[in-house]
Symmetry: C2
Subunit: 103 residues, 2 copies
DNA sequence: ACTTTGTTTCGTTATTCTACGAAATACTAA
DNA sequence: TTAGTATTTCGTAGAATAACGAAACAAAGT
């Protein structure tokens, strides 16, 4: 295995990942929805009613956000209650803040 | 023409566009580079030397950032001097800040 | 055991993204 | 006019994304 030069910092890579997760209006909508309803139960179906997309498509977007760590899902059959992942949300917040304020 | 319901707010759409522009480590690198060198001349070639990608690929990334409005290029043949687009940078900063702080 | 319910996964298709090298561009210098 | 320089555009190819409906799942109720 060849030693590989690191071109991008950890921060740069994380920023890119969080940004990628946020790079679609449906996903921003979902994050807005969850962030505005902290404490409440947010089911996939609740959001599906407000969006002009198939439920399966919504599910894929939820999967993307989960993959990036911005949200998490608590299984409560047959429902799944979604909410913001606070730890990673804070991390993303810090990253974007430092990035835009050049700290 | 049929009247279409608006599902996403202006902010949600703008956020998604800025996030999309930032959704690649090379582009975060470029933004970091330009933001750290405000006032100085930043040419495509300067960045090309620090990145493990073809110059044409870098050029495409620069085009993406220009399209999103985060950077601008001032032609100074045969060079092109790049810099942050301050107006849109501020807008993106505000958007991300309000988003993550739920203001 | 069967049905219902909310949600996800699968299979598919169309589109967009990322990357490269070669060729084109646009201006300067000789 | 020709050569040189920095950068972009083009043509192409492979990978990733987004969308849908149908089918699968997993637990609860009948």
């Amino acid at each position: 295995m060849v030693t590989e030069k690191k071109f991008y910092t950890e921060s740069q890579q994380k920023m890119a990942l969080y940004a990628k997760a946020m790079a679609h209006p449906v996903r921003i909508f979902i994050l807005d929805f969850l962030a505005d309803n902290i404490g409440k139960c947010c089911y996939s179906g609740d959001m599906a009613e407000e969006l002009p997309i198939a439920r399966s498509t919504l599910s894929e977007h939820l999967k993307e956000l989960k993959k990036a760590g911005l949200i998490q899902g608590e299984i409560n059959p047959p429902y799944i209650k979604y909410c913001i992942n606070k730890v990673n949300w804070e991390e993303a917040k810090e990253l974007f803040q430092c990035f835009y304020e050049r700290k």
